[in-house]
Protein backbone atom coordinates (compact mmCIF):
# COMPACT_ATOMS: atom_id res chain seq x y z
CA UNK A 1 0.00 0.00 0.00
CA UNK A 2 1.29 3.38 -1.01
CA UNK A 3 1.00 6.13 1.52
CA UNK A 4 -1.22 8.97 0.46
CA UNK A 5 0.04 12.50 0.99
CA UNK A 6 -2.26 12.82 3.96
CA UNK A 7 -1.04 9.57 5.49
CA UNK A 8 2.52 10.55 4.71
CA UNK A 9 2.05 13.86 6.39
CA UNK A 10 0.63 12.15 9.43
CA UNK A 11 3.52 9.73 9.39
CA UNK A 12 6.07 12.50 9.08
CA UNK A 13 4.38 14.52 11.75
CA UNK A 14 4.22 11.57 14.06
CA UNK A 15 7.79 10.58 13.30
CA UNK A 16 9.07 14.10 13.71
CA UNK A 17 7.26 14.69 16.94
CA UNK A 18 8.20 11.29 18.28
CA UNK A 19 11.81 11.87 17.33
CA UNK A 20 11.82 15.32 18.83
CA UNK A 21 9.91 14.32 21.91
CA UNK A 22 12.23 11.43 22.49
CA UNK A 23 15.10 13.85 22.73
CA UNK A 24 13.53 16.93 24.25
CA UNK A 25 11.30 15.43 26.90
CA UNK A 26 14.10 13.81 28.86
CA UNK A 27 15.51 17.27 29.37
CA UNK A 28 12.29 18.19 31.07
CA UNK A 29 12.12 14.95 33.09
CA UNK A 30 10.95 11.86 31.30
CA UNK A 31 7.94 9.91 32.52
CA UNK A 32 8.61 6.62 34.26
CA UNK A 33 10.34 4.07 32.12
CA UNK A 34 9.75 1.00 34.24
CA UNK A 35 7.79 -0.24 37.20
CA UNK A 36 10.00 1.54 39.73
CA UNK A 37 9.53 4.90 38.04
CA UNK A 38 13.10 5.15 36.79
CA UNK A 39 13.62 8.36 34.85
CA UNK A 40 16.21 9.33 32.30
CA UNK A 41 18.07 12.62 32.35
CA UNK A 42 20.38 14.23 29.81
CA UNK A 43 24.09 14.25 30.59
CA UNK A 44 23.74 11.64 33.34
CA UNK A 45 24.30 7.92 33.51
CA UNK A 46 24.11 5.47 36.39
CA UNK A 47 26.37 2.52 36.99
CA UNK A 48 26.50 0.10 39.86
CA UNK A 49 29.55 0.25 42.06
CA UNK A 50 30.88 -3.23 41.33
CA UNK A 51 31.16 -2.42 37.64
CA UNK A 52 32.66 0.99 38.33
CA UNK A 53 35.26 -0.27 40.73
CA UNK A 54 36.58 -2.81 38.24
CA UNK A 55 39.57 -0.86 37.10
CA UNK A 56 39.48 -0.35 33.37
CA UNK A 57 41.83 2.21 31.87
CA UNK A 58 39.68 4.97 30.42
CA UNK A 59 42.22 6.90 28.42
CA UNK A 60 44.30 5.73 25.52
CA UNK A 61 47.29 7.43 27.04
CA UNK A 62 47.12 5.35 30.16
CA UNK A 63 46.64 2.16 28.22
CA UNK A 64 49.52 2.95 25.87
CA UNK A 65 51.94 3.56 28.70
CA UNK A 66 51.41 0.16 30.23
CA UNK A 67 54.12 -2.39 29.47
CA UNK A 68 55.88 -5.31 31.05
CA UNK A 69 59.44 -6.55 31.02
CA UNK A 70 60.11 -10.09 29.87
CA UNK A 71 62.74 -12.49 31.15
CA UNK A 72 65.43 -11.00 28.89
CA UNK A 73 64.76 -7.47 30.06
CA UNK A 74 62.88 -6.41 26.93
CA UNK A 75 59.55 -4.64 26.93
CA UNK A 76 56.54 -6.68 25.94
CA UNK A 77 52.80 -5.91 25.88
CA UNK A 78 51.00 -6.68 29.08
CA UNK A 79 48.59 -9.57 29.17
CA UNK A 80 44.95 -8.88 29.88
CA UNK A 81 45.38 -10.33 33.37
CA UNK A 82 48.36 -8.06 34.04
CA UNK A 83 46.44 -5.07 32.76
CA UNK A 84 43.58 -5.79 35.12
CA UNK A 85 45.99 -6.24 38.01
CA UNK A 86 47.75 -2.98 37.25
CA UNK A 87 44.54 -1.09 36.88
CA UNK A 88 43.30 -2.45 40.17
CA UNK A 89 46.15 -0.62 41.91
CA UNK A 90 45.32 3.02 41.41
CA UNK A 91 48.34 4.35 43.26
CA UNK A 92 50.87 1.94 41.77
CA UNK A 93 52.19 3.72 38.74
CA UNK A 94 55.45 2.75 37.09
CA UNK A 95 58.37 4.74 38.43
CA UNK A 96 56.15 6.59 40.85
CA UNK A 97 57.51 8.13 44.00
CA UNK A 98 55.21 7.79 46.94
CA UNK A 99 55.68 9.82 50.06
CA UNK A 100 53.99 9.44 53.40
CA UNK A 101 54.33 12.95 54.70
CA UNK A 102 55.55 12.85 58.26
CA UNK A 103 58.49 15.19 58.00
CA UNK A 104 58.88 18.75 59.21
CA UNK A 105 57.25 20.05 56.06
CA UNK A 106 54.05 18.30 56.99
CA UNK A 107 53.91 20.29 60.20
CA UNK A 108 53.52 23.45 58.14
CA UNK A 109 50.86 22.02 55.89
CA UNK A 110 47.33 20.84 56.43
CA UNK A 111 47.78 17.40 55.00
CA UNK A 112 48.00 15.62 58.34
CA UNK A 113 49.90 12.79 56.73
CA UNK A 114 47.98 12.71 53.45
CA UNK A 115 49.45 10.47 50.80
CA UNK A 116 51.10 12.44 48.04
CA UNK A 117 52.34 10.71 44.91
CA UNK A 118 54.18 11.99 41.87
CA UNK A 119 53.75 10.62 38.37
CA UNK A 120 56.40 10.43 35.68
CA UNK A 121 55.04 13.57 34.05
CA UNK A 122 55.28 15.51 37.30
CA UNK A 123 51.62 15.25 38.18
CA UNK A 124 51.14 15.46 41.93
CA UNK A 125 48.25 13.45 43.34
CA UNK A 126 46.99 14.17 46.85
CA UNK A 127 44.67 11.52 48.22
CA UNK A 128 42.04 13.20 50.36
CA UNK A 129 40.25 11.65 53.29
CA UNK A 130 37.02 12.01 55.19
CA UNK A 131 38.61 14.88 57.08
CA UNK A 132 38.68 16.99 53.91
CA UNK A 133 35.04 16.26 53.07
CA UNK A 134 32.29 18.79 53.73
CA UNK A 135 29.60 17.48 56.07
CA UNK A 136 26.13 18.90 56.51
CA UNK A 137 24.65 18.58 59.97
CA UNK A 138 20.99 19.34 60.71
CA UNK A 139 19.49 20.13 64.10
CA UNK A 140 15.96 20.58 65.28
CA UNK A 141 15.61 23.65 67.48
CA UNK A 142 12.79 25.82 68.65
CA UNK A 143 13.60 28.08 65.70
CA UNK A 144 13.17 25.23 63.22
CA UNK A 145 15.56 22.87 61.47
CA UNK A 146 19.02 24.37 61.19
CA UNK A 147 21.83 23.13 59.00
CA UNK A 148 25.49 23.93 59.21
CA UNK A 149 28.52 22.58 57.45
CA UNK A 150 31.54 21.05 59.10
CA UNK A 151 34.88 20.14 57.65
CA UNK A 152 35.60 16.51 58.35
CA UNK A 153 33.83 13.51 59.76
CA UNK A 154 35.20 13.99 63.26
CA UNK A 155 33.86 17.52 63.60
CA UNK A 156 30.50 16.53 62.12
CA UNK A 157 29.98 13.63 64.47
CA UNK A 158 31.01 15.80 67.40
CA UNK A 159 28.38 18.35 66.39
CA UNK A 160 25.69 15.65 66.28
CA UNK A 161 26.66 14.31 69.68
CA UNK A 162 26.94 17.74 71.30
CA UNK A 163 24.30 19.94 69.72
CA UNK A 164 24.32 22.33 72.69
CA UNK A 165 27.79 23.51 71.72
CA UNK A 166 26.69 23.99 68.18
CA UNK A 167 25.75 27.62 68.62
CA UNK A 168 26.42 29.02 65.19
CA UNK A 169 24.05 26.87 63.20
CA UNK A 170 22.64 28.41 60.09
CA UNK A 171 18.91 28.04 59.99
CA UNK A 172 17.38 26.43 56.98
CA UNK A 173 14.38 27.74 55.18
CA UNK A 174 12.35 29.97 57.38
CA UNK A 175 15.08 31.21 59.61
CA UNK A 176 18.75 31.29 58.92
Amino acid sequence: MVATPLNLRRWISAAGLTLAAGVVLPALAEPPANKDGAMTFPNVSVVNAPAATVAEPKSGADQGMTAAIDGSGKLRPVTSEEARALAAKPKLRLNTRSLQRNDADALQSDDGGLEVTYGDDGTMTITLTDEQMVYQVAQKTAEGVKVEEHKGKTAAERAVANPATDSKAQEVGHDR
Binding site: S59, E148, D175
Partner: protein, 477 residues
Protein backbone atom coordinates in the same frame (compact mmCIF):
# COMPACT_ATOMS: atom_id res chain seq x y z
CA UNK B 1 3.25 17.92 -8.18
CA UNK B 2 0.42 18.79 -5.91
CA UNK B 3 0.00 21.94 -3.94
CA UNK B 4 0.59 19.99 -0.79
CA UNK B 5 4.09 18.93 -1.69
CA UNK B 6 5.83 22.12 -0.53
CA UNK B 7 4.04 21.98 2.78
CA UNK B 8 4.99 18.35 3.17
CA UNK B 9 8.58 19.17 2.42
CA UNK B 10 8.41 22.07 4.80
CA UNK B 11 6.95 19.85 7.44
CA UNK B 12 9.64 17.27 6.89
CA UNK B 13 12.35 19.89 7.00
CA UNK B 14 10.82 21.46 10.06
CA UNK B 15 10.46 18.12 11.79
CA UNK B 16 14.01 17.09 11.05
CA UNK B 17 15.32 20.53 11.88
CA UNK B 18 13.53 20.43 15.19
CA UNK B 19 14.84 16.97 15.82
CA UNK B 20 18.27 18.10 14.69
CA UNK B 21 18.21 20.96 17.11
CA UNK B 22 17.06 18.64 19.81
CA UNK B 23 19.75 16.13 18.93
CA UNK B 24 22.41 18.78 18.76
CA UNK B 25 21.43 20.30 22.08
CA UNK B 26 23.56 17.93 24.13
CA UNK B 27 26.66 19.14 22.29
CA UNK B 28 26.18 22.49 24.00
CA UNK B 29 25.89 20.87 27.41
CA UNK B 30 29.08 18.98 27.27
CA UNK B 31 29.64 17.18 30.53
CA UNK B 32 28.50 13.72 31.43
CA UNK B 33 28.07 12.92 35.09
CA UNK B 34 28.15 9.29 36.13
CA UNK B 35 26.32 8.41 39.32
CA UNK B 36 28.10 5.37 40.72
CA UNK B 37 25.51 3.57 42.82
CA UNK B 38 27.45 2.03 45.66
CA UNK B 39 24.48 0.58 47.50
CA UNK B 40 23.81 -3.13 47.81
CA UNK B 41 20.51 -4.67 46.82
CA UNK B 42 17.58 -3.66 48.97
CA UNK B 43 19.10 -0.56 50.58
CA UNK B 44 19.75 3.07 49.76
CA UNK B 45 19.24 3.65 46.06
CA UNK B 46 17.85 0.12 45.83
CA UNK B 47 15.33 0.40 48.68
CA UNK B 48 12.13 -1.26 47.39
CA UNK B 49 9.77 0.51 49.83
CA UNK B 50 6.77 1.71 47.78
CA UNK B 51 6.26 5.48 47.69
CA UNK B 52 3.97 7.84 45.82
CA UNK B 53 5.48 10.06 43.11
CA UNK B 54 6.25 13.52 44.43
CA UNK B 55 6.94 16.88 42.83
CA UNK B 56 7.89 15.59 39.38
CA UNK B 57 9.84 12.63 40.74
CA UNK B 58 8.04 9.65 39.25
CA UNK B 59 9.91 7.02 41.24
CA UNK B 60 7.57 4.49 42.83
CA UNK B 61 10.12 3.10 45.29
CA UNK B 62 12.10 5.04 47.86
CA UNK B 63 15.36 3.91 46.30
CA UNK B 64 14.35 4.97 42.81
CA UNK B 65 13.18 8.37 44.02
CA UNK B 66 16.55 8.90 45.67
CA UNK B 67 18.32 7.90 42.47
CA UNK B 68 16.07 10.13 40.37
CA UNK B 69 16.83 13.06 42.67
CA UNK B 70 20.57 12.43 42.34
CA UNK B 71 20.24 12.27 38.58
CA UNK B 72 18.13 15.40 38.45
CA UNK B 73 20.75 17.39 40.38
CA UNK B 74 23.57 15.87 38.32
CA UNK B 75 21.71 16.70 35.13
CA UNK B 76 21.51 20.36 36.09
CA UNK B 77 25.26 20.43 36.53
CA UNK B 78 25.83 18.32 33.43
CA UNK B 79 23.84 20.78 31.34
CA UNK B 80 25.99 23.63 32.63
CA UNK B 81 29.53 22.30 32.71
CA UNK B 82 31.78 21.49 29.79
CA UNK B 83 34.14 18.53 29.86
CA UNK B 84 35.17 15.71 27.58
CA UNK B 85 35.96 13.57 30.62
CA UNK B 86 32.99 12.04 32.46
CA UNK B 87 32.65 13.13 36.07
CA UNK B 88 32.17 10.19 38.41
CA UNK B 89 30.30 10.65 41.68
CA UNK B 90 30.59 7.65 43.97
CA UNK B 91 27.25 7.79 45.76
CA UNK B 92 25.61 5.94 48.62
CA UNK B 93 22.82 6.31 51.10
CA UNK B 94 24.09 4.80 54.33
CA UNK B 95 23.69 5.13 58.10
CA UNK B 96 25.37 8.31 59.30
CA UNK B 97 25.57 9.78 62.79
CA UNK B 98 22.24 10.97 64.15
CA UNK B 99 20.00 11.43 67.15
CA UNK B 100 16.32 12.27 67.35
CA UNK B 101 17.12 15.97 67.07
CA UNK B 102 20.41 16.12 65.20
CA UNK B 103 21.83 14.32 62.20
CA UNK B 104 24.53 14.30 59.59
CA UNK B 105 22.56 14.86 56.40
CA UNK B 106 25.43 13.88 54.19
CA UNK B 107 28.91 14.63 53.04
CA UNK B 108 30.64 15.26 49.77
CA UNK B 109 33.95 16.31 48.37
CA UNK B 110 36.78 15.47 46.03
CA UNK B 111 38.52 12.16 46.61
CA UNK B 112 41.76 13.45 45.17
CA UNK B 113 43.49 16.71 44.38
CA UNK B 114 46.04 17.16 41.61
CA UNK B 115 48.78 19.62 40.76
CA UNK B 116 51.19 20.06 37.85
CA UNK B 117 49.14 17.93 35.47
CA UNK B 118 49.05 18.40 31.67
CA UNK B 119 47.54 21.65 30.35
CA UNK B 120 47.24 23.19 33.82
CA UNK B 121 47.23 26.99 33.87
CA UNK B 122 48.79 27.43 37.31
CA UNK B 123 51.71 25.27 38.43
CA UNK B 124 52.07 24.10 42.03
CA UNK B 125 48.37 24.63 42.61
CA UNK B 126 45.89 22.03 43.86
CA UNK B 127 42.76 21.31 41.81
CA UNK B 128 39.93 18.93 42.65
CA UNK B 129 39.91 15.73 40.63
CA UNK B 130 36.98 16.50 38.32
CA UNK B 131 38.36 19.88 37.26
CA UNK B 132 41.91 18.58 36.92
CA UNK B 133 40.76 15.81 34.58
CA UNK B 134 38.67 18.27 32.56
CA UNK B 135 41.70 20.51 32.08
CA UNK B 136 44.06 17.63 31.34
CA UNK B 137 41.61 16.18 28.85
CA UNK B 138 42.03 12.70 30.31
CA UNK B 139 40.88 11.01 33.47
CA UNK B 140 43.90 11.51 35.71
CA UNK B 141 42.83 8.68 37.98
CA UNK B 142 40.59 6.27 36.09
CA UNK B 143 40.06 3.91 38.99
CA UNK B 144 39.05 6.52 41.55
CA UNK B 145 35.80 8.48 41.34
CA UNK B 146 36.12 12.26 41.26
CA UNK B 147 33.61 13.01 43.98
CA UNK B 148 32.37 11.00 46.95
CA UNK B 149 28.82 11.65 48.17
CA UNK B 150 27.26 9.98 51.20
CA UNK B 151 23.78 10.71 52.47
CA UNK B 152 21.92 9.59 55.54
CA UNK B 153 19.70 6.62 54.78
CA UNK B 154 17.86 6.90 58.10
CA UNK B 155 16.98 10.60 58.00
CA UNK B 156 13.46 11.19 59.25
CA UNK B 157 13.12 7.76 60.82
CA UNK B 158 12.55 7.44 64.58
CA UNK B 159 15.75 8.43 66.37
CA UNK B 160 17.28 10.18 63.36
CA UNK B 161 15.99 13.74 63.04
CA UNK B 162 12.65 12.14 63.62
CA UNK B 163 9.94 13.18 61.20
CA UNK B 164 12.16 15.39 59.04
CA UNK B 165 13.15 13.32 55.99
CA UNK B 166 14.54 14.60 52.72
CA UNK B 167 12.05 16.05 50.27
CA UNK B 168 12.64 14.10 47.06
CA UNK B 169 10.56 16.17 44.62
CA UNK B 170 12.07 18.43 41.98
CA UNK B 171 9.60 21.29 42.28
CA UNK B 172 10.92 23.17 45.32
CA UNK B 173 7.67 22.44 47.13
CA UNK B 174 9.57 21.14 50.15
CA UNK B 175 7.84 23.11 52.88
CA UNK B 176 9.71 22.55 56.16
CA UNK B 177 11.51 19.44 54.85
CA UNK B 178 15.09 19.39 53.61
CA UNK B 179 15.20 19.69 49.84
CA UNK B 180 17.55 16.93 48.68
CA UNK B 181 18.02 18.37 45.19
CA UNK B 182 19.18 21.71 46.60
CA UNK B 183 21.50 19.95 49.04
CA UNK B 184 22.92 17.83 46.22
CA UNK B 185 23.48 20.82 43.95
CA UNK B 186 25.32 22.52 46.80
CA UNK B 187 27.44 19.52 47.72
CA UNK B 188 28.27 18.71 44.11
CA UNK B 189 29.33 22.36 43.82
CA UNK B 190 31.92 21.78 46.52
CA UNK B 191 33.10 18.63 44.78
CA UNK B 192 33.46 20.48 41.50
CA UNK B 193 35.79 23.03 43.05
CA UNK B 194 33.82 25.54 45.11
CA UNK B 195 36.10 25.08 48.09
CA UNK B 196 39.59 25.64 49.30
CA UNK B 197 41.67 22.77 50.63
CA UNK B 198 43.60 25.35 52.64
CA UNK B 199 42.78 25.33 56.33
CA UNK B 200 41.40 28.74 57.23
CA UNK B 201 41.69 28.05 60.95
CA UNK B 202 45.45 27.56 60.80
CA UNK B 203 46.18 29.17 57.45
CA UNK B 204 48.04 26.04 56.38
CA UNK B 205 47.89 24.89 52.79
CA UNK B 206 47.00 21.27 52.15
CA UNK B 207 50.60 20.67 51.17
CA UNK B 208 53.06 23.40 52.08
CA UNK B 209 53.65 25.65 49.09
CA UNK B 210 50.61 24.33 47.23
CA UNK B 211 47.63 26.71 47.33
CA UNK B 212 44.23 25.61 46.11
CA UNK B 213 43.12 27.13 42.80
CA UNK B 214 40.29 28.75 44.81
CA UNK B 215 42.93 30.72 46.76
CA UNK B 216 44.16 32.42 43.58
CA UNK B 217 40.91 34.41 43.38
CA UNK B 218 40.27 35.00 47.09
CA UNK B 219 41.35 38.54 47.89
CA UNK B 220 41.54 40.26 51.26
CA UNK B 221 40.61 43.93 50.93
CA UNK B 222 42.31 44.83 54.20
CA UNK B 223 45.61 43.14 53.54
CA UNK B 224 45.37 43.85 49.81
CA UNK B 225 46.59 40.33 49.11
CA UNK B 226 45.44 37.10 47.54
CA UNK B 227 45.17 34.04 49.75
CA UNK B 228 47.68 32.25 47.57
CA UNK B 229 50.50 34.64 48.51
CA UNK B 230 49.71 35.15 52.20
CA UNK B 231 51.56 33.63 55.10
CA UNK B 232 49.68 31.18 57.27
CA UNK B 233 49.18 33.90 59.90
CA UNK B 234 47.80 36.29 57.30
CA UNK B 235 45.34 33.67 56.04
CA UNK B 236 44.25 33.00 59.62
CA UNK B 237 43.44 36.68 60.02
CA UNK B 238 41.77 36.93 56.64
CA UNK B 239 39.50 33.97 57.37
CA UNK B 240 37.74 36.01 60.06
CA UNK B 241 37.82 39.37 58.26
CA UNK B 242 34.05 39.52 57.79
CA UNK B 243 32.78 40.87 54.47
CA UNK B 244 36.22 42.16 53.58
CA UNK B 245 37.33 39.16 51.55
CA UNK B 246 36.16 39.19 47.94
CA UNK B 247 36.20 36.89 44.93
CA UNK B 248 38.06 38.66 42.11
CA UNK B 249 37.65 36.16 39.26
CA UNK B 250 36.65 37.90 36.04
CA UNK B 251 33.55 35.84 35.31
CA UNK B 252 32.03 36.31 38.74
CA UNK B 253 32.80 40.02 38.84
CA UNK B 254 31.40 40.58 35.35
CA UNK B 255 28.13 38.87 36.28
CA UNK B 256 27.70 40.05 39.86
CA UNK B 257 25.43 42.96 39.00
CA UNK B 258 23.22 40.67 36.93
CA UNK B 259 22.61 38.43 39.94
CA UNK B 260 22.95 40.42 43.16
CA UNK B 261 20.38 43.06 44.01
CA UNK B 262 21.55 46.60 44.70
CA UNK B 263 20.73 48.38 47.93
CA UNK B 264 22.97 47.12 50.71
CA UNK B 265 21.31 47.76 54.11
CA UNK B 266 22.97 50.21 56.47
CA UNK B 267 22.15 51.51 59.93
CA UNK B 268 23.36 54.63 61.69
CA UNK B 269 22.65 55.40 65.32
CA UNK B 270 22.24 59.18 65.53
CA UNK B 271 21.86 59.63 69.29
CA UNK B 272 22.87 59.49 72.05
CA UNK B 273 26.51 60.29 71.33
CA UNK B 274 27.77 57.42 73.47
CA UNK B 275 26.48 54.85 70.97
CA UNK B 276 26.28 56.97 67.81
CA UNK B 277 27.85 55.68 64.63
CA UNK B 278 27.47 53.24 61.75
CA UNK B 279 26.53 49.66 62.62
CA UNK B 280 27.00 46.54 60.50
CA UNK B 281 23.66 44.91 59.72
CA UNK B 282 22.21 41.95 57.91
CA UNK B 283 19.16 42.61 55.77
CA UNK B 284 15.91 40.67 55.72
CA UNK B 285 14.66 38.28 53.06
CA UNK B 286 11.09 39.29 53.95
CA UNK B 287 9.25 42.57 54.28
CA UNK B 288 9.80 45.74 52.25
CA UNK B 289 13.28 46.73 51.16
CA UNK B 290 14.88 49.67 52.86
CA UNK B 291 15.00 52.82 50.77
CA UNK B 292 17.94 55.12 50.04
CA UNK B 293 16.11 57.93 51.83
CA UNK B 294 15.86 55.70 54.86
CA UNK B 295 13.64 55.42 57.87
CA UNK B 296 14.46 57.22 61.11
CA UNK B 297 12.88 56.41 64.42
CA UNK B 298 13.30 56.02 68.14
CA UNK B 299 14.43 52.60 69.31
CA UNK B 300 12.55 50.80 72.06
CA UNK B 301 13.58 47.37 73.23
CA UNK B 302 11.07 44.66 73.93
CA UNK B 303 11.27 43.40 77.48
CA UNK B 304 10.95 39.64 77.21
CA UNK B 305 8.10 37.95 78.93
CA UNK B 306 8.12 34.31 79.92
CA UNK B 307 7.56 31.65 78.94
CA UNK B 308 7.95 32.33 75.21
CA UNK B 309 10.04 35.48 75.45
CA UNK B 310 12.03 37.01 72.62
CA UNK B 311 8.96 38.56 70.99
CA UNK B 312 7.66 35.16 70.01
CA UNK B 313 4.13 35.83 71.27
CA UNK B 314 1.81 38.82 70.83
CA UNK B 315 3.18 41.74 72.85
CA UNK B 316 1.73 42.51 76.23
CA UNK B 317 0.33 45.98 76.88
CA UNK B 318 3.60 47.43 78.18
CA UNK B 319 5.64 46.25 75.22
CA UNK B 320 2.96 47.30 72.75
CA UNK B 321 2.91 50.78 74.26
CA UNK B 322 6.69 50.97 74.08
CA UNK B 323 7.10 50.01 70.41
CA UNK B 324 4.04 51.68 68.94
CA UNK B 325 5.32 54.08 66.27
CA UNK B 326 8.91 53.17 67.18
CA UNK B 327 11.66 50.83 65.99
CA UNK B 328 11.45 47.65 68.08
CA UNK B 329 14.65 46.01 69.29
CA UNK B 330 14.16 42.28 69.92
CA UNK B 331 16.51 39.40 70.68
CA UNK B 332 17.14 36.50 68.34
CA UNK B 333 16.11 33.07 69.57
CA UNK B 334 13.27 30.71 70.46
CA UNK B 335 11.22 31.31 67.29
CA UNK B 336 11.69 32.37 63.68
CA UNK B 337 12.44 35.94 62.65
CA UNK B 338 9.18 36.42 60.80
CA UNK B 339 7.22 35.62 63.96
CA UNK B 340 9.06 38.28 65.95
CA UNK B 341 8.71 40.91 63.26
CA UNK B 342 5.03 40.13 62.74
CA UNK B 343 4.36 40.51 66.46
CA UNK B 344 6.17 43.84 66.50
CA UNK B 345 4.25 44.97 63.42
CA UNK B 346 0.96 44.02 65.05
CA UNK B 347 1.94 46.13 68.05
CA UNK B 348 2.47 49.17 65.82
CA UNK B 349 6.26 49.13 65.36
CA UNK B 350 7.57 50.85 62.21
CA UNK B 351 10.67 48.64 61.91
CA UNK B 352 12.54 45.92 63.81
CA UNK B 353 16.15 45.44 64.83
CA UNK B 354 17.00 41.84 65.79
CA UNK B 355 19.98 41.56 68.13
CA UNK B 356 21.92 38.33 67.58
CA UNK B 357 22.18 35.86 70.46
CA UNK B 358 25.52 34.38 69.44
CA UNK B 359 28.86 36.05 69.05
CA UNK B 360 29.40 36.18 65.30
CA UNK B 361 30.23 39.11 63.05
CA UNK B 362 29.26 40.46 60.66
CA UNK B 363 25.58 39.79 61.33
CA UNK B 364 23.94 37.40 58.89
CA UNK B 365 20.79 38.22 56.98
CA UNK B 366 17.35 37.44 58.42
CA UNK B 367 15.77 34.52 56.59
CA UNK B 368 12.12 33.72 56.31
CA UNK B 369 8.98 34.21 54.27
CA UNK B 370 5.84 36.07 55.27
CA UNK B 371 4.15 38.24 52.66
CA UNK B 372 2.02 39.94 55.31
CA UNK B 373 5.02 41.68 56.83
CA UNK B 374 5.08 45.32 55.74
CA UNK B 375 7.79 46.81 57.97
CA UNK B 376 11.56 46.48 57.37
CA UNK B 377 13.93 44.58 59.64
CA UNK B 378 17.68 44.14 60.09
CA UNK B 379 19.96 42.06 62.30
CA UNK B 380 22.81 43.50 64.36
CA UNK B 381 25.53 41.64 66.21
CA UNK B 382 25.29 40.47 69.81
CA UNK B 383 27.88 43.04 70.86
CA UNK B 384 26.08 45.93 69.15
CA UNK B 385 22.78 44.76 70.60
CA UNK B 386 24.29 44.86 74.07
CA UNK B 387 25.63 48.37 73.42
CA UNK B 388 22.18 49.63 72.55
CA UNK B 389 20.49 47.78 75.40
CA UNK B 390 22.97 49.29 77.80
CA UNK B 391 21.69 52.81 77.06
CA UNK B 392 18.12 51.61 76.73
CA UNK B 393 18.18 50.66 80.40
CA UNK B 394 17.33 54.28 81.10
CA UNK B 395 14.31 54.50 78.81
CA UNK B 396 10.86 55.44 80.05
CA UNK B 397 7.72 53.55 79.07
CA UNK B 398 7.43 55.54 75.82
CA UNK B 399 10.78 57.27 75.17
CA UNK B 400 14.39 56.18 74.96
CA UNK B 401 16.35 59.00 73.34
CA UNK B 402 18.03 56.41 71.07
CA UNK B 403 17.46 57.35 67.46
CA UNK B 404 18.56 55.41 64.42
CA UNK B 405 18.29 55.62 60.65
CA UNK B 406 17.95 52.45 58.57
CA UNK B 407 18.54 52.84 54.84
CA UNK B 408 19.84 51.10 51.76
CA UNK B 409 22.87 52.13 49.77
CA UNK B 410 21.89 51.88 46.09
CA UNK B 411 25.52 51.96 45.03
CA UNK B 412 26.36 48.68 46.75
CA UNK B 413 25.24 45.21 45.74
CA UNK B 414 23.91 42.92 48.47
CA UNK B 415 26.70 40.44 49.05
CA UNK B 416 29.45 42.41 47.32
CA UNK B 417 32.19 44.84 48.28
CA UNK B 418 32.46 48.47 47.23
CA UNK B 419 33.93 47.41 43.89
CA UNK B 420 31.03 45.09 43.14
CA UNK B 421 33.01 41.90 43.85
CA UNK B 422 31.00 39.22 45.69
CA UNK B 423 32.27 38.62 49.19
CA UNK B 424 33.31 35.32 50.70
CA UNK B 425 31.90 34.06 54.02
CA UNK B 426 34.51 34.94 56.64
CA UNK B 427 32.71 35.35 59.98
CA UNK B 428 34.39 35.89 63.31
CA UNK B 429 34.76 33.45 65.01
CA UNK B 430 35.86 30.99 62.36
CA UNK B 431 33.35 28.31 61.38
CA UNK B 432 35.14 25.15 60.17
CA UNK B 433 33.42 23.82 57.09
CA UNK B 434 31.52 27.02 56.45
CA UNK B 435 34.13 29.77 56.48
CA UNK B 436 35.85 30.74 53.24
CA UNK B 437 34.35 28.02 51.02
CA UNK B 438 30.98 29.81 50.66
CA UNK B 439 29.46 33.08 49.58
CA UNK B 440 28.66 35.51 52.36
CA UNK B 441 25.15 35.30 53.79
CA UNK B 442 24.46 38.95 52.91
CA UNK B 443 23.86 38.01 49.27
CA UNK B 444 20.41 38.86 47.91
CA UNK B 445 18.97 36.84 46.33
CA UNK B 446 20.14 33.87 48.38
CA UNK B 447 22.88 31.95 46.62
CA UNK B 448 23.26 28.18 46.28
CA UNK B 449 26.73 28.25 47.79
CA UNK B 450 25.94 30.15 50.96
CA UNK B 451 26.62 28.13 54.11
CA UNK B 452 22.91 27.50 54.60
CA UNK B 453 20.46 25.89 52.21
CA UNK B 454 17.75 28.50 52.08
CA UNK B 455 14.18 27.69 51.23
CA UNK B 456 13.96 30.14 48.35
CA UNK B 457 16.71 28.63 46.19
CA UNK B 458 15.64 28.06 42.60
CA UNK B 459 17.81 25.01 41.73
CA UNK B 460 19.69 27.32 39.37
CA UNK B 461 23.48 27.30 39.32
CA UNK B 462 23.98 30.12 36.85
CA UNK B 463 23.02 33.69 36.03
CA UNK B 464 20.65 35.44 36.37
CA UNK B 465 19.83 33.62 39.64
CA UNK B 466 23.17 32.33 40.82
CA UNK B 467 26.92 32.88 40.63
CA UNK B 468 28.14 29.34 41.34
CA UNK B 469 28.95 28.38 37.75
CA UNK B 470 30.69 31.70 37.14
CA UNK B 471 33.03 30.95 40.03
CA UNK B 472 33.69 27.51 38.58
CA UNK B 473 34.47 29.14 35.22
CA UNK B 474 37.00 31.36 36.97
CA UNK B 475 38.90 28.37 38.32
CA UNK B 476 38.96 26.60 34.97
CA UNK B 477 35.62 24.98 34.16
Amino acid sequence: MTAKSPSLRSLLVASLAFAGIAFSAPTFSAATIVIVNGNAAGVGFNDPTPVAPVGGNFGTTLGQQRLNAFQHAASIWGATLTSTVPIQIQSTFEPLACTATSAVLGSAGSLQAFANFPNVAFQNTAYGGALASKIAGVDLSPTVADIRARFNVNLGQPGCLTGAPFYLGFDNNHGPLIDLVAVLLHEFGHGLGFQTFTNGQTGAQIVAGIPTIYDLFTFDNTQNKLWSVMTNAERQQSAINGRRVAWIGANVVANAAAVLAPGQPEMTVNAPATVAGDYQVGGAAFGPALTPAGLTGEVMNVIDTSPAGNACTPFNAANALAVNGKIALVDRGVCGFVIKVKNAQNAGAIAVIVADNVNSTPPAALGGVDPTIVIPAVRISLADGNRLKDVLRFRSRTKSGVFTTMRSNPNLLNGADALGRPVIYTPNPFEPGSSVSHWDTSAIPNQLMEPSINGDLTHSVNVPQDLTFQLLRDIGW
